[in-house]
């Protein structure tokens, strides 16, 4: 069953047609990659999924509910978490606090005025955050300010924050952009491990072919705002149209 359905989505920026009639469906519990050359409309598509942009036409259904016109926080509350290209974390807060916030958000919803309780009294939430830190291998960094983490750790923390909410769909926007090879491989391993341990759907936008081919089960190739082909990694590799539009540059 498809958990995310994108139907006939178009988006125009002035004279530029960023997306034209994009159709795409992401199967539940799969890892789906969206690749394409620069300017293919990958980020625009992603922003249409999370409520940052409103497509001109078409529909986006998550679990058969439309997400169009909703605020990012509402879409998150439906079960979609997003990892950004440059890690978006709470830099001035400690690693532990970073982990607590999404868990509070999941339990209490978009707003709750819990101004008189202390954080320590929320034992269940603290425990969940500790488990998640353990899983992300960051227990020893819990009192550090998130801004002082290394790039790889920031990414780890961000993924951990997203996972702590048990999302049904995890969206990753070029998660290894600008990373050294070792960090990239760590991130790939982490994502593989996440996939093995949980029922989660992962949609990933990526530039790096190494990452795409080590993770994805399905690949959609986007070029000039339209999906060119959608297939398994093996078939994508040899596809003449894809070579021409994308891989050809590198080959």
């Amino acid at each position: 069953m498809a958990i995310l359905r994108v139907k006939d989505v178009s988006k125009r920026f002035g004279g530029l047609k960023a997306l034209s009639d994009v159709n795409l469906s992401v199967e539940e519990n799969s890892v789906h990659a969206i690749i394409g050359p620069n300017g293919a409309g990958k980020s625009t598509l992603l922003n249409c999924l999370v409520g940052k942009l409103m497509p001109d036409t078409g529909s986006v259904l998550f679990d058969n509910n439309s997400v169009l016109g909703l605020e990012p926080f509402q879409i998150n509350q439906m079960g979609i978490s997003r990892v950004f290209q440059t890690p978006e974390i709470f830099g001035e807060l400690t690693v532990m606090e970073n982990m607590l916030i999404p868990i509070f958000a999941m339990r209490d919803g978009a707003f709750r005025m819990h101004a008189y309780e202390t954080i320590a009294s929320e034992k269940g939430i603290v425990e969940q955050a500790e488990v998640m830190l353990e899983e992300m291998n960051m227990v020893d960094k819990r009192e550090m300010h998130a801004a002082s983490l290394s790039r790889g750790d920031k990414r780890r923390l961000e993924i951990g924050m997203c996972l702590s909410q048990n999302p049904r769909l995890l969206l990753l926007d070029e998660p290894t952009a600008g990373m050294a090879r070792a960090d990239t491989n760590n991130t790939i391993d982490l994502l593989k491990q996440i996939k093995e341990e949980r029922d989660i759907t992962i949609a990933i936008i990526e530039h790096d072919m190494h990452v795409v081919f080590s993770l994805a089960e399905r690949i959609t190739v986007l070029a000039q705002g339209t999906p060119l082909v959608e297939d398994t990694p093996e078939n994508i590799r040899g596809h003449p149209k894809v070579r021409e539009a994308y891989l050809g540059e590198a080959a």
């Binding site: 926080f73 709470f90 001035e92 999941m106 709750r112 101004a115 309780e117």
Partner: protein, 401 residues
């Protein structure tokens, strides 16, 4: 204690001791001595220390936690004062309903202003709050003061007149603000040798209120809600993508700080039953920003220190005049004495703003964390020095072995 951790409990105890013993602490110099003019332990000034401390604590909940800089908080202070005086006029001189109403009205007013201003962030938010505050000032100063509808009494300021209804004012109740019969002005003066200490009922009311709201501020700072407010400051994008709606969090912080300001305004009127429009002017809003930054933005005790510091300067430093200077430097040769006084002259008396401005610049440049950071650095420096002294002997023995 009281659900606080050890560090916060000791902070609360320190604040309690400082406020309760303020009449002693602020009057260290004997009466009639040359230094007596630096004594700040008279009721009027002590009340102002505490009231502006409350104002700054509230402002810090908004600015320190969320990073949203409001330039219009004096409007809430003014609204609080007007509400309190209206309570004096209509009900009675008892300060309890007056202070309660000032908090409620300031809360409602800040809900309205916050709802509109928080549609924008950064500098635009600051400008919107400034605009609202100046509009409130204009309303209070002239628009809402006309023969048909006189809410604020304009330039003269709102005050209680003999023909006001005061429907609950008992026949025996004091004819000035009181707490169930205890007049706010009543002062007990204790003479100890050359020293004299004033214990003022109004001051102690303010001090108790300060302690309560300081405690509440600690609770807010340490609560999940406080953490969310810091998250707003740190990364609003991540917050929204984490399923949190930052708008109501900010509005709640805005209203809470507005209520603190209203409380300060109400207390001000309770100490002196008069409310003027100048309390709402933008300079008053700017003052609380200075207090918070000077003391240490985002710290618990900082705003109180900043408020005390600025009020001390305003009231004590401004009293130093050339005569005082001449008496200080009279040991110098005549020509030199005049020269020194001439150099210092622009910085004292009416020039206290100049000194304050320089100090403010120095703090912002060298101590971005305000006076609190200064204190921390000083402590660290002493610790290292002490540690160094302990280490020194062992360093000497090593080569001998």
């Amino acid at each position: 204690m009281l659900g606080l951790n050890k560090k916060d409990t000791s902070l609360l105890i320190v604040v309690a001791l400082l406020t309760m013993l303020a009449p002693f602490i602020l009057n260290p110099f004997p009466e009639g001595s040359a230094m007596a003019q630096f004594n700040a332990g008279y009721p009027d000034l002590m009340q102002r220390f505490v009231i502006f401390g409350i104002f700054a604590i509230g402002f810090n909940i908004l600015f320190g936690l969320t990073g949203y800089l409001s330039f219009g908080h004096a409007a809430f202070l003014g609204v609080g004062s007007y509400s309190a005086v209206w309570m004096f006029k209509l009900l009675s001189y008892n300060v309890v309903p007056a202070i309660a109403l000032s908090v409620v009205v300031a809360g409602l007013f800040s809900l309205l202003i916050g709802f509109v201003s928080l549609r924008r962030s950064g500098i635009y938010f600051s400008i919107l709050t400034l605009a609202f505050a100046q509009m409130s000032f204009a309303l209070a100063y002239s628009v809402l003061s006309n023969p048909k509808f006189n809410l604020t009494n304009g330039e003269t300021g709102l005050q209680v007149y003999a023909d006001d209804p005061q429907i609950l004012q008992g026949a025996n109740a004091p004819d000035l603000p009181h707490l169930f019969g205890l007049p706010m002005r009543s002062t007990y003066t204790m003479d100890l040798g050359a020293w004299s200490f004033d214990f003022n009922a109004g001051y102690y009311l303010c001090a108790v209120v300060l302690m309560v709201v300081f405690y509440l501020a600690i609770r807010i700072f340490r609560s999940p809600f406080g953490m969310m407010l810091r998250a707003v400051k740190s990364n609003q994008q991540r917050m929204n993508y984490t399923g949190l709606n930052s708008k109501p969090y900010m509005l709640a912080a805005f209203v809470i700080s507005g209520m603190y300001a209203g409380l300060a305004g109400g207390l001000m009127a309770a100490m002196d039953p008069l409310a003027g429009a100048e309390r709402m002017q933008w300079t008053a809003s700017g003052e609380v920003v200075l207090m918070t930054i000077l003391g240490g933005t985002g710290t618990l005790i900082g705003p109180v220190l900043g408020a005390g510091f600025i009020k001390y300067f305003e009231n004590i430093f401004s009293k130093i005049n050339d005569n005082v200077l001449h008496s200080w430097f009279s040991f110098l040769p005549d020509g030199l004495e005049d020269a020194v006084v001439f150099v210092i002259h622009p910085f004292i008396g009416k020039g206290w703003h100049l000194t304050l401005g320089i100090l403010f610049m120095l703090v912002v440049i060298y101590l971005p964390g305000g006076l609190v950071e200064g204190g921390q650095r000083l402590r660290g420096w002493f610790r290292r020095k002490k540690k160094g002294a302990d280490d020194a002997p062992s360093g000497k023995t090593e080569p001998a072995e």
